[in-house]
């Protein structure tokens, strides 16, 4: 049970959503955008997040779009992870998103919510980072499309009234060879000890990781070293560990040392999957 009162709004258009935000903010109603609700509800229950009003964006048709434009696969932010698991247009996304939480939760968790959430893993962002996807953002000055790397650095970096409406991914990326794996402490359903996703484009491997550090990331420095074919794989992996963008997590799931060990193993698995026996 949530111990505080809040107001509920369900706008029908992008502009209405943003207007609600400003109106509620001005009235001191501490608004938050609301999508699947799995995180806001469970955290509000424990007062880990407190808000005065929620703006439920699921009433806006733009957030439900799923399909192709000439160039892109467009995924609305209200699409559930379960739906993405079953629509296999972007297999890397289907598999990565399909391992978040459990099925009952994935029925509710939306792609937008997972990526914009407070829980640090945000695993569904990894495929978009790898694909150099673009996002449609709604805000006070209307909507705009920007590369995801412009607005995702550790977490979503948007103005407080802005939110993600759609994810746009170039069709040519969808069918590239990929690798994705989630390593857990022990259980089949758990937060990641680490989740690693990779694609191979023009003989160049791109890698993104969640659960290893306190935020998901794709790192140019690590990709550079991993693609340095003049070095043996073992050495590339070892150097990649030295170039992590932040301290390795050390928590109840795993120690930092063990995470490093698993990361190295997982990189080797990735090489085997994407490069086979090639040197």
């Amino acid at each position: 049970m949530i111990g505080f009162d809040f107001e509920y709004y369900r706008p029908k258009t992008l502009a209405e959503a943003v207007n609600f935000y400003h109106m509620l903010k001005e009235r001191g109603k501490r608004p938050v955008y609301y999508s699947g609700g799995t995180e806001l509800i469970t955290m509000a229950r424990l007062n880990q997040v407190i808000f005065g009003s929620v703006i439920d964006i699921k009433g806006i048709p733009d957030t439900w779009i799923y399909g192709y434009s000439e160039q892109d696969l467009i995924i609305g932010s209200s699409i559930s992870l379960t739906d993405l698991e079953e629509d296999r247009d972007f297999p890397l996304l289907s598999q990565t998103a399909g391992r978040v939480a459990d099925r009952t939760s994935r029925n509710k968790i939306t792609i937008g919510g997972n990526i914009c959430g407070k829980i640090i893993y945000r695993e569904a962002v990894l495929p978009f980072l790898l694909a150099d996807s673009r996002v449609l953002i709604a805000g006070r000055n209307g909507s705009r499309i920007v590369p995801i790397s412009n607005i995702f650095e550790q977490e979503v970096q948007l103005a407080e009234d802005e939110w993600i409406v759609q994810f746009l991914t170039d069709r040519s990326i969808l069918s590239l060879p990929f690798f994705t794996v989630k390593k857990r402490k022990l259980d089949v359903i758990d937060y990641p000890l680490l989740t690693l996703a990779a694609i191979k484009k023009d003989e160049h491997i791109r890698v993104a990781v969640s659960g290893l550090c306190a935020f998901p990331f794709r790192s140019e420095a690590i990709e550079t070293i991993l693609n340095n074919r003049s070095m043996p794989k073992e050495l590339r992996i070892k150097e990649a560990v030295d170039r992590l963008p932040a301290p390795v997590l050390n928590d109840w799931i795993a120690s930092a040392e063990y995470r490093r060990f698993v990361f190295q193993n997982t990189l080797m698995e990735m090489f085997t999957a994407l490069e086979g026996d090639e040197k």
Binding site: G3, K185, L186, W252, Y258, F261
Partner: protein, 774 residues
């Protein structure tokens, strides 16, 4: 036979599968007020100030209680626990205040507004630390607490109970040992994880009568404790227990009942409902005990055990509750089911700043068994002896004595050896206990034996009342709680068998009302069918006697010439001369209208006999009537590259005596195995450096899910007990007991490194393999 050995569908099945079954929290009434706890965010701290002013101003708040109003000390063995914390909190999650309000939402909102200021104190993090002389004291006034006679705390320390076992002569034992093995094991406290969180309601009627509803294994104890603590006449109190949604020992502690009662009193007796959130159920209410243990075993060159010495340091947490009993129970069975002439055991229960412990399925036996069985593995290795052979050679038998020097017979001890032989067959032990499937994949097996008797009150007992409906069907009334085991249904089967009618003709309600239900001491210790089965038989015999009395008058034959079958009393020599139960159960009416006899009410009881307290210096004594024994095995597939593993299969062979309901019995055993594997592989609280629990939710505290389980094989050995109904034995807990050890043994064998801690995560194996040098 009609009913014994038949897998009848349990009588609570339909309401449970249709979702109509009612549990305590479902019984909310329109006049119920709601209580919400405020709990401590610190593991050990002084409570400087509790500011309830903002909370009190919320409309709908009826009352707020703090330790000032609820400082009475409680505890079954040692009265060390205030109902709400006074001046000091001793564990993360301890109740500090309770809000009573019109709705749960209001109560929660007000609880959030109560401001408590704390001054943190040094934290005792483990029983080993608590045992050190310079450890901070969790209870400075231990010497002043009221306690029962057979518990032995040491004031000025954190030791709240000591049990000693002194059997034989240790010097002789070690001299006779060609080989010795030592092991240290440890694991943290964990939780029961019943699906139903603990829930109570309390109401004080205008005439002073107290009505409690509680999801409890011990409604009769609640009554006695209220009498003991608040001086309430037991007749002025009724405890109702409807279906209980899983208990596993965790609902044998009395805690929320006291809070709810004081809450109701604070609002003029109105009914107050108090149900744990999952987070509270994890840590505020009592937990599964932790343990640090050291064991040394000695054997001669043939592998015959000569000596055993052990120290158990149980993590009782902040308050003693049942943990003191558990530490004693561990001592009484400290060797596992092996014959050893020379035994020395010191079993200590320690106070720490962890959530406090209470009974957990197996009652300290899964815990001690890990220590013993891991040491046996080391011993087998040193002896270069097959672990199955070592166990078989030393398995305890009739004529041997237990650690508390009970002389055993077949009825008391069953047949451990047969269980070992059968489980070795089931797990294909002979094909090899360590097989390299591929360069990096290893399949390995591990085995463990177990035994357990009960360690309950020496005069514990059970009662039963049997009445008839006018159509000749039967109502059985007894005090065993339906905690999910199906025991009440099996008791109906036992009654039907004795009355020689179909079990469908015996009705048994699932809820308990202590004002009219005959007492069953507590629904714990696998003593439900054991004790109540005997009471039910006695009640049936009493009823049959009355039926025959009436029939002998109606049929004009001596009572001895009558027998019963299929709902009739008949003349043995002329079976066609017979009267139906329905013609007798309310007296027989002659054709002219005259009546003889009257309403048949069968009554029966059973009380344990021959139990004694333990000698405080040697532990000599009789803690329970018999042991259920068995052997278990696990097969794992372990990956040497990444240290992950899968549990492929698990097998249990248990000497269950006569099995009344085979499907329910197998279900109990499978459930026990599942729980044991879950506990051993992934459960356990994670504490931060301040003693705060980091995983008090199912998000972070993982249990083995259905579907992730290995294949379970269950088989039985049948050595009937000579003391119980139809020769049954208690099996409610036992399949948990050997699972942690069997899993640890299989993984240790797979990885080639001793694994002596729980939970057995891949990281733990990786650490052990890396020699902890990382």
């Amino acid at each position: 036979m009609y009913n014994i050995g038949r897998s009848m569908i349990r009588k609570d099945a339909i309401e449970k599968v249709t979702g109509t079954a009612k549990y305590t929290a479902d019984l909310i009434t329109a006049d119920s007020l709601h209580a919400k706890l405020v709990t401590s965010p610190f593991a050990h701290a002084l409570v400087k100030k509790i500011d309830i002013s903002a909370a009190s101003r919320i409309t709908g708040v009826q009352a707020i209680l703090t330790g000032k109003e609820a400082h009475t000390l409680t505890g079954e063995q040692i009265k060390d626990r205030p109902i709400l914390a006074v001046d000091r909190v001793r564990y993360n999650g301890e109740p500090v205040a309770v809000v009573i309000a019109d709705t749960l939402a209001i109560a929660k909102r007000a609880a959030d507004l109560i401001k408590v200021s704390y001054t943190p104190l040094p934290v005792v993090h483990s029983p080993s630390q608590a045992y050190q002389e310079d450890a901070p004291l969790v209870h400075e006034n231990l010497g002043q607490y009221e306690k029962i006679a057979d518990v032995y705390p040491i004031p000025g320390t954190n030791i709240c109970n000591v049990t000693k076992i002194r059997k034989g002569n240790m010097e002789q034992g070690w001299n006779a040992s060609a080989v010795t093995a030592e092991t240290k094991i440890s694991f943290p406290p964990s939780d029961h994880c019943a699906i139903e969180t603990r829930s109570v309601s309390a109401e004080v009627l205008p005439d002073g009568h107290i009505i409690i509803y509680s999801s409890s294994q011990v409604p009769f104890t609640i009554k006695k404790l209220f009498n003991n603590i608040f001086g309430i006449d037991q007749g002025r109190m009724t405890v109702h227990t409807p279906l209980v949604g899983g208990a596993y020992g965790g609902k044998s502690a009395v805690q929320l009942e006291f809070i709810a009662y004081l809450a109701s009193r604070a609002v003029g007796g109105q009914k107050v409902q108090l149900t744990n959130s999952r987070e509270e159920d994890f840590i505020t209410s009592p937990v599964h005990i932790g343990l640090d243990a050291w064991v040394k075993l000695g054997a001669d060159k043939n592998g015959i055990l000569q000596a055993a010495e052990m120290i158990f340091l149980f993590d009782g947490g902040a308050y003693s509750d049942k943990a003191v009993d558990m530490s004693r129970a561990a001592a009484t069975n400290c060797t596992g089911p092996y014959h050893i002439d020379n035994v020395r055991c010191d079993s200590l229960c320690l106070y720490t700043n962890h959530p406090y412990a209470t009974s957990f399925r197996g009652f300290s036996h899964p815990e001690l068994t890990l220590a013993i069985e891991r040491t046996l593995e080391v011993l087998a290795e040193k002896l270069a002896m097959d672990p199955v052979e070592l166990r078989g050679k030393n398995a305890i038998r009739p004529g041997n004595t237990s650690p508390t020097q009970v002389v055993l017979n077949e009825s008391k001890i069953g047949n451990t050896r047969k269980c070992i032989e059968r489980v070795a067959e089931l797990i294909d032990w002979d094909e090899g206990d360590r097989i390299e499937v591929s360069p990096h994949v290893i399949r390995a097996k591990g085995i463990s034996c177990f035994w357990k008797n009960s360690n309950i009150d020496t005069n514990a007992g059970s009662g039963a009342i049997l009445t008839f409906n006018a159509d000749g069907t039967v109502n059985l009334n007894c005090g065993v709680i339906e905690i999910g085991t199906g025991s009440r249904s099996v008791l109906a089967q036992i009654a039907a068998e004795r009355l020689k009618i179909d079990a469908q003709q015996v009705f048994i309600k699932m809820d308990i009302d202590t004002s009219v239900t005959p007492e069953h001491w507590k629904t714990v210790a696998s003593r439900g069918l054991w004790m109540a089965g005997r009471a039910v038989l006695a009640a049936c015999d009493d009823a049959v006697c009355q039926l025959k009395d009436t029939a002998s008058q109606a049929l004009r034959v001596p009572r001895e010439d009558l027998d019963i079958s299929g709902g009739y009393v008949f003349v043995k020599n002329e079976p066609k001369r017979r009267l139906a139960f329905k013609e007798l159960a309310y007296g027989y009416v002659y054709p002219n209208g005259n009546a003889v006899g009257g309403q048949v009410i069968g009554r029966g009881y059973y009380t344990l006999t021959g139990m004694t307290f333990l000698d405080p210096e040697t532990g000599k004594g009789v803690p329970g009537p018999d042991w259920t024994v068995g052997a278990q095995a696990v097969e794992v597939e372990w990956n040497a590259c990444d240290f992950t593993y899968r549990i492929l299969r698990a097998a249990t062979v248990i000497d269950a005596g006569t099995i009344i309901n085979p499907e329910l019995a197998r279900g109990q055993v499978r459930g026990g195995m599942h729980m044991g594997l879950s506990f051993a592989s992934r459960e356990g609280f994670v504490f931060d450096k301040n003693g705060v629990v980091l995983n008090n939710q199912f998000r972070t505290y993982k249990v083995l899910r259905y579907g992730e389980n290995p294949h379970y094989t269950v088989d039985f050995v049948v050595t009937p007990s000579r003391e119980t109904a139809y020769g049954l034995r208690g099996i409610g807990e036992h399949a948990v007991i050997g699972m942690p050890a069997a899993l640890a043994n299989s993984l240790s064998r797979a990885a080639g490194v001793p694994l002596n801690q729980l939970p057995l995560t891949p990281e733990l194996i990786w650490r052990a393999k890396s020699g902890d040098q990382v």
